[in-house]
């Protein structure tokens, strides 16, 4: 047995993150950890990797009891971990980043390390240029750096926390091949994912966590995704599989020949963006992270200005308007970063509601009516099933999915005319994602125009009436969902637009 956990527990104030979790991983086994947000998956991985110390329980490594003193110790034992959020220095090269991660004694010379990196990259087909600065790499390439960093030593167990969340379908497929190759050489893999079909395709065994406890385990190849979802969520949940299309009405938001020059080294140049958003429709934009989504959202929000082109809302030009002025006209944006942009972590939910809601309610002549704001906050918590101790809880003590439900609820409750939604369900569990989808459809049916930017293609096909993709700051044609095949969308994401025109009026 490569790894065996016996009754591992970890308690935080007010919650039990892991309650007597036991599991076994054989050499060469790919083992999935499934569970909702807040089920305790990440805490469990961090305990194995020594980032967090367990309160109770035992851990066996190659049939011997060990107590992991920290990540450095875990690495010595032959473990590696790829975190959900990369820990790389953007201004250093790939080789330098990897050298920083190793013990000084392991780095004989930078040239030798560089060769070693190239050899590992070659062996696993992880193409990478060791001399590139990490800041200039795509997200997928940065993840490769993280993985190579683990493989550079003789690795026995690789832990990956939602590795495919940031990848294109093709990149995700490639990663799965790499992991299979790695497993065939005897390395065990622990794999956290929300995407059940991936688990199905890749994993030998799966352990399901719910509220910190092991609620079941299964062999994914012999279990349907629906059954696995039931293990994760319990039986009470029904998932909506399809939605009916929206009734598209008059034109609301129009972008004409927009160009935004990059304002820093890492920004993307948006070119010739033409996009029409109508009442009662959802437009979905696919695309790999870092292809201009951030810039497009900032542009629509009013944080950055276009160098050329026109933006109109119901025929009125909004090009020169500020964020607050646009919001007053009925525009709303849900950003990708929940803590830090969409919400202030150290403020409570009532204050976070006021953050954007001050446009529509709760203030008069610059004075705040806290009672009204708090009333609305309670309403959002209740309607959007936000799991919290109340409207006075701090935003950063909510789990990611719950905070996302709150932020979406906050915007939808303001009844916006146009809603821009970036990664509406990133890192959100199946149940919460379903709720968010239903709310977005309901808002659309009330006559709002919604733009969804997402990397989750299933989600885009589920929600959108029209689909397009962003690649390198350019927009593909945006056409009815039924006319866009998955292959077509994949080509658009790779920048192969079949015609010169970049948008169809619907």
């Amino acid at each position: 047995m490569r790894l065996e956990l016996l009754g591992l527990s970890k308690r935080y104030p007010g919650c039990v993150a892991n309650d007597a979790v036991s599991l076994k991983v054989e050499p060469g086994e790919i083992h999935a950890i499934l569970g909702e947000n807040g089920a305790g998956k990440s805490t469990l991985m961090k305990m194995i990797y020594g980032v967090v110390k367990p309160d109770d329980g035992q851990m066996m490594w190659n049939n011997k009891e060990v107590e992991i003193k920290g990540p450095a110790h875990a690495r010595q034992l032959g473990m590696g971990m790829v975190f959900q959020h990369f820990s790389l220095f953007e201004t250093l090269t790939v080789t330098e980043n990897i050298a920083l991660y190793l013990e000084p004694s392991e780095v004989s010379s930078m040239a030798a390390l560089r060769q070693h990196i190239e050899a590992v990259a070659q062996e696993y087909g992880l193409a990478i240029n060791p001399d590139r600065k990490v800041g200039s790499l795509s997200v997928g390439e940065q993840q490769r750096v993280e993985i190579i960093r683990c493989l550079i030593q003789d690795i026995k167990l690789l832990i990956l926390d939602e590795p495919t969340a940031v990848l294109t379908p093709a990149e995700a497929d490639h990663l799965i091949q790499v992991l299979k190759q790695l497993a065939s050489k005897g390395c065990s893999i622990l794999f956290i994912s929300h995407k059940l079909h991936e688990v199905n395709a890749l994993c030998d065994r799966a352990t399901v966590l719910r509220a910190g406890k092991v609620t079941g385990s299964c062999v994914p190849r012999e279990t349907s995704p629906a059954d696995m979802a039931r293990l994760m969520l319990g039986d009470e949940l029904t998932l909506t599989e399809t939605f009916t299309g929206g009734k598209t009405a008059d034109l609301l938001l129009q972008l004409k020949q927009i160009e935004v020059a990059p304002n820093d080294l890492f920004a993307i140049h948006l070119r010739d963006i033409n996009l029409n958003l109508h009442r009662g429709e959802i437009v979905g934009l696919a695309g790999v992270a870092g292809n201009g989504q951030d810039e497009l959202v900032d542009l629509l929000n009013g944080e950055i200005a276009a160098n050329a082109g026109q933006m109109t809302l119901s025929g009125q030009s909004i090009t020169p308007l500020s964020v607050q002025q646009r919001r007053r006209l009925g525009m709303a944006v849900v950003p990708a970063d929940r803590i830090g942009r969409g919400a202030v972590g150290t403020m409570n939910l009532t204050e976070n509601n006021l953050l954007t809601a001050s446009i529509t309610h709760g203030t008069k002549g610059g004075l705040i009516n806290w009672q009204a704001v708090s009333q609305r906050t309670k309403q959002i918590i209740q309607r959007y099933k936000v799991k919290t101790t109340g409207e006075h809880e701090q935003a950063d003590s909510l789990s990611g999915g719950n905070l996302q439900k709150f932020i979406l609820g906050r915007e939808i409750e303001q009844a916006p005319q146009v809603l821009i939604c970036f990664h509406p369900t990133w890192g959100v569990d199946v149940g919460a994602a379903n709720l968010i989808h239903q709310q977005l459809i309901a808002l659309r049916d009330q006559g709002a125009a919604i733009l969804v930017l997402s990397e989750d293609l299933d989600e885009l096909y589920l929600l959108a009436d029209r689909l397009g993709a962003l690649c390198a700051g350019q927009l593909s044609p945006v056409i009815a969902k039924d006319e866009v095949s998955l292959e077509q969308l994949g080509q658009w994401m790779a920048g192969q637009f079949d015609s010169k025109e970049t948008s169809h009026a619907h």
């Binding site: 308690r11 935080y12 104030p13 020594g50 980032v51 967090v52 110390k53 367990p54 309160d55 109770d56 920290g70 990540p71 929000n301 009013g302 944080e303 500020s322 964020v323 607050q324 646009r326 919001r327 944006v333 950003p335 970063d337 830090g340 942009r341 969409g342 919400a343 202030v344 972590g345 150290t346 403020m347 204050e351 006021l354 953050l355 954007t356 001050s358 203030t363 610059g366 004075l367 705040i368």
Partner: protein, 366 residues
């Protein structure tokens, strides 16, 4: 040995931290007195009790509280927005120079408008000095911490130039001091027997205003958002540059009014030793007061006491002048130390997993 972040710092301890810092300061102070050969009990009595044992003593405390509180009110708003204005001292001195100049021009003027004009000139001068830092920050991205500290020294040298040069009293036997202000340029006293002026009312009024702004207005909310997360403030479209300007200008104005309260109050002329460090002490007031209006009111009395008590032990026991800075420094040091240990905990090497405390903490450095 290393430190790790506590998952949830105790709210009670966050509020108790200033009290703890005070107790530690008193204990250390007692030990220090003992070492210096003074009886510890008597010295502490002379420092903290004797000065306020009669009404005159209390009134003298209020004389110190007035400029401290005025400076602290402006700084509190700045610090809420994480605009680290360390320059209340310089804004105070520059305002003293300008309002002193205006006062000297109005020595013979009559009318109800004289004092408002002087106060206004002080406020405007403080704003101008803070405005330099605001300009440097918003247009060139210069850290306001550095610029405001540097501006403090420039202001001090301007004051020295003034009292040694153009503003020197022609009949002053060549002392580096301005002429004495006349009655119409001095702030009215609350009572003939004491030196407290109406400026204390201005301070209390402004304290109430700031409290209202922070808790009830959208503007106050925007300041807090800017302080907690500048990126969130940008996302919702708050005008960060405008907020930074307003915060610095407001705290500059408050430091300016503080200067008038001192120069056109108990001092009554421009002198080279105007700066008793109120602008620096006000920083301690804001942190001791936990950035809350009631808290800074209490803390301004405590810091005021370090001044009057310091004078008392100099007179009674012949202690050095630096005793004031020593006590203020200890207060700040212990406060920061307490805050650190409230938000983080020490982990000793080779200690077994402490099951009791590990529940309340999470490791941040790995």
């Amino acid at each position: 040995m290393r430190i790790e972040k506590r998952l949830q710092p105790s709210r009670t301890m966050v509020l108790m931290s200033p009290v703890l810092a005070l107790v530690l300061t008193l204990l250390t102070g007692a030990a220090l007195f003992k070492l210096l050969g003074h009886p510890a009990g008597l010295s502490l009595y002379n420092y903290f009790i004797n000065p306020i044992s009669d009404w005159y003593g209390v009134s003298e405390l209020l004389v110190k509280v007035t400029p401290l509180l005025l400076c602290a009110i402006g700084l509190m708003l700045c610090f809420k927005g994480k605009v680290w204005n360390i320059g209340a001292e310089g804004q105070f001195i520059f305002a003293a120079l300008i309002s002193g100049y205006v006062s000297l021009q109005l020595l013979q003027a009559e009318g109800f408008w004289v004092l408002p004009v002087i106060i206004l000139s002080g406020a405007l001068a403080g704003m101008a000095w803070a405005g330099v830092a605001a300009l440097l920050k918003t247009h060139f991205g210069a850290s306001e911490i550095l610029t405001t500290i540097m501006l403090n020294y420039i202001a001090l040298n301007l004051l020295l130039w003034g009292v040694h040069g153009p503003l020197k009293d022609p009949d002053g036997y060549n002392f580096p001091e301005s002429a004495l202000f006349t009655d119409q340029t001095l702030l009215p006293l609350l009572s003939e027997d004491y030196r407290v002026t109406v400026a204390i009312y201005i301070a209390l009024f402004m304290l109430a205003v700031v409290w209202f702004v922070l808790s009830k207005t959208l503007f106050g909310f925007q300041i807090r958002v800017l302080g907690e997360s500048a990126r969130a403030a940008n996302f919702v479209g708050y005008n960060s540059k405008l907020l930074i300007w307003m915060l610095l200008l407001f705290s500059g104005a408050m430091a300016g009014v503080a200067a008038v309260s001192e120069v056109n109050g108990p001092v009554g002329q421009l002198i080279p030793t105007l700066n008793l460090g109120y602008g620096y002490a006000a920083i301690i007031v804001v942190f001791m007061g936990r950035m809350h209006p009631v808290g800074i009111l209490i803390a301004s009395f405590l810091l005021g006491l370090t001044y009057v008590g310091g004078e008392m032990v100099q007179i009674e026991q012949g202690m050095p002048k630096s005793i004031v800075g020593l006590f203020q420094g200890m207060l700040l040091f212990f406060l920061l130390a307490c805050d650190l240990l409230i938000h983080y905990r020490l982990v000793l090497p080779n200690s077994a997993i402490p099951s009791f405390s590990s529940r309340r903490s999470k490791q941040v450095v790995s």
